[in-house]
C-alpha cells in the first residue's frame, strides 16, 4: 500500500507537476523539450512484472497524449520504453538486482554509476524514438539528434531529481 502511494506520488510529481506544469511552461527554444514524465516508468520497482510494465506504460502514454494533444505519439514511445526496461536493467544491473523486491532505482539503491548508466540508456532510447517519430523523416536528422541530446540530458537530470525526492522522503519517514 505504501508502495502504491509512493508511486502515485511519483506519477503526480513527474507527469503532472514537472512535465505538464513546469517544463511545458518553459519555452527555451526548439531543442528544449524534456520528457520528464518517463521518470514514472524508469523508477518503477526493479522487479515489476513485464505485463504490469506494459499496462502502466500504456496508461502513462495515453495520459500524456491526452494532455499534450499528440494522439498516440507518447503512447507508442512509452510502451517501447516500458517493454525495453527489463532487458536494459538485466544488461546494466545484472540478473540478481532485477530480482530484488520493492527496490526503487536510485543512486542509493544501485550506486551512482549503475543508476546513471541505466537511466541514461532508458531516457536516451525514449527521447530518440520520440523525436524520430515526431519528425517522421530522415531529412535534417541531425536536428533530431541534437534535440535528443539536449532534452535527454535535462530529462536525465529530472529523473534523478524525482528519485532523490522520493528516496529522501522514504528515509525521513523511517
Amino acid at each position: 500500500m505504501r508502495n502504491f502511494l509512493t508511486y502515485v506520488g511519483v506519477f503526480v510529481t513527474a507527469a503532472v507537476l514537472l512535465q505538464l506544469f513546469l517544463l511545458d511552461s518553459m519555452r527555451l527554444g526548439v531543442y528544449f523539450a524534456p520528457l520528464a514524465y518517463v521518470a514514472f516508468i524508469v523508477l518503477l520497482p526493479v522487479n515489476t512484472k513485464p505485463l504490469a510494465m506494459l499496462f502502466l506504460g500504456f496508461a502513462l502514454g495515453a495520459f500524456m497524449d491526452f494532455f499534450e494533444g499528440t494522439a498516440g505519439l507518447h503512447t507508442a514511445t512509452t510502451l517501447l520504453t516500458a517493454y525495453l526496461r527489463r532487458p536494459e536493467m538485466t544488461m546494466i544491473l545484472g540478473k540478481d538486482v532485477v530480482g530484488q523486491e520493492n527496490v526503487m532505482p536510485s543512486v542509493k539503491s544501485l550506486g551512482g554509476g549503475k543508476f546513471f548508466r541505466f537511466v541514461a540508456l532508458a531516457v536516451g532510447v525514449h527521447c530518440l524514438v520520440f523525436f524520430t517519430l515526431e519528425s517522421l523523416s530522415w531529412e535534417n536528422y541531425h536536428l533530431v539528434l541534437l534535440k535528443t541530446a539536449v532534452s535527454g540530458v535535462v530529462t536525465l537530470f529530472a529523473v534523478w531529481a524525482v528519485s532523490m525526492l522520493f528516496t529522501l522522503r522514504a528515509r525521513r519517514r523511517i
Partner: protein, 274 residues
C-alpha cells in the same frame, strides 16, 4: 508478452499515423477544459512578470488607433461637408471585421506541431478559422478548435500551418510554412521568380488564405534563392514576432472567411453523407 506489446504498439502507432491536425487540436481542446484553469494561473504569473512589456505594446497600439481615428474623423467631416459624396453609411466595409482580445494560457515552440491555447471560447464569439494576431499586428496563427471557454489555435510554428504571404508592394504572393527548425524563421515559397525581391522586404498576408485579412504583418525577407524548376523563389522570412513570448492576442473574425468555411464543411458533409 511480445504479442501484447506489438498489439498495443500497433494500436498507438495507427492512431498517431491516422490522426489529423484537427483531431489533435480537438484532443487539446478537451483536455484543456480540465487543466486550462491551472495553466491560466501559471500564465497569470508570467503575465505579471511581463506587465511592463505588455503595457508598452498597448500604449503603442492606443497611439496607432488614436491616429487612425483622427484620420477617419477628418475624412468623415470632409465627406459630410460634400453633399455630393456618397453617404457615410456606404463607406462601411461590406464584411466588417470583428475582434476578440484573448490571453494566451499555454504555448510551445519545442514541438513539430505547436499550438496556442487562449482563454476565450465560443461564448465570447470565438470561432474556428479566426485569425490570431499579436498586439503589435503580426500573424501568430489561426483558431483550429473552439470550446465554450477556451480555444486551441494552430501556431505559425506548426508544420501543418499554411497561409498565403505577399511581398508587400508587389502583389505577388506565395505559401507560408514552417519546417520545424528555427522558431524565428518561416519559409515563403511559390512567389514567381520575376518578382523583385530584396533582403529586408516586408512580407504581409495576401488576403487569399483561409483566415487572414489582407495586410497583416508577417516579417521580413532574410534570404532567398530561385528554384529554376518551379520558376519561383524559396525565401526565408524572419518573423516579426517571437511566437513563444506572445502573451495577449487579437482574434479577428472575417465573416466572409467564416461563411466560406461553413460552406466547405456543409459540402464536405454532403459528400461524406452521400
Amino acid at each position: 508478452m511480445l504479442l501484447i506489446f506489438l498489439v498495443l504498439e500497433g494500436l498507438a502507432l495507427h492512431y498517431y499515423a491516422s490522426s489529423s491536425v484537427h483531431t489533435r487540436a480537438r484532443l487539446l481542446s478537451v483536455s484543456n477544459n480540465i487543466v486550462g484553469g491551472i495553466y491560466g494561473s501559471i500564465a497569470g504569473v508570467e503575465d505579471y512578470l511581463n506587465l511592463a512589456k505588455t503595457n508598452r505594446l498597448l500604449e503603442a497600439r492606443v497611439e496607432m488607433l488614436e491616429n487612425e481615428m483622427a484620420a477617419a474623423r477628418e475624412y468623415r467631416a470632409a465627406v459630410q461637408r460634400d453633399t455630393l459624396a456618397p453617404r457615410v453609411d456606404s463607406l462601411a466595409p461590406i464584411f466588417p471585421l470583428e475582434y476578440v482580445v484573448a490571453r494566451v494560457v499555454r504555448n510551445s515552440v519545442d514541438k513539430r506541431e505547436n499550438f496556442l491555447m487562449v482563454d476565450r471560447g465560443t461564448k465570447d464569439g470565438v470561432e474556428r478559422g479566426m485569425a490570431v494576431v499579436s498586439l503589435d499586428g503580426y500573424m501568430v496563427g489561426y483558431v483550429e478548435s473552439a470550446s465554450e471557454h477556451n480555444a486551441v489555435c494552430l501556431s505559425v510554428l506548426n508544420t501543418e500551418f499554411r497561409a498565403s504571404g505577399m511581398v508587400a508592394g508587389t502583389g505577388q504572393f506565395g505559401s507560408i510554412s514552417w519546417s520545424g527548425g528555427d522558431p524565428r524563421v518561416v519559409a515563403l515559397n511559390e512567389v514567381p521568380k520575376y518578382t523583385e525581391v530584396a533582403r529586408g522586404d516586408q512580407i504581409v498576408t495576401s488576403g487569399y488564405s483561409f483566415s487572414f485579412p489582407k495586410g497583416i504583418h508577417i516579417g521580413t525577407v532574410e534570404d532567398f534563392e530561385i528554384d529554376e524548376a518551379r520558376a519561383s523563389y524559396e525565401m526565408n522570412v524572419r518573423l516579426g514576432v517571437d511566437v513563444g513570448a506572445v502573451r495577449v492576442v487579437l482574434l479577428i473574425k472575417n465573416p466572409a472567411v467564416y461563411e466560406r468555411i461553413k460552406l466547405e464543411e456543409e459540402v464536405l458533409g454532403e459528400v461524406e453523407g452521400a
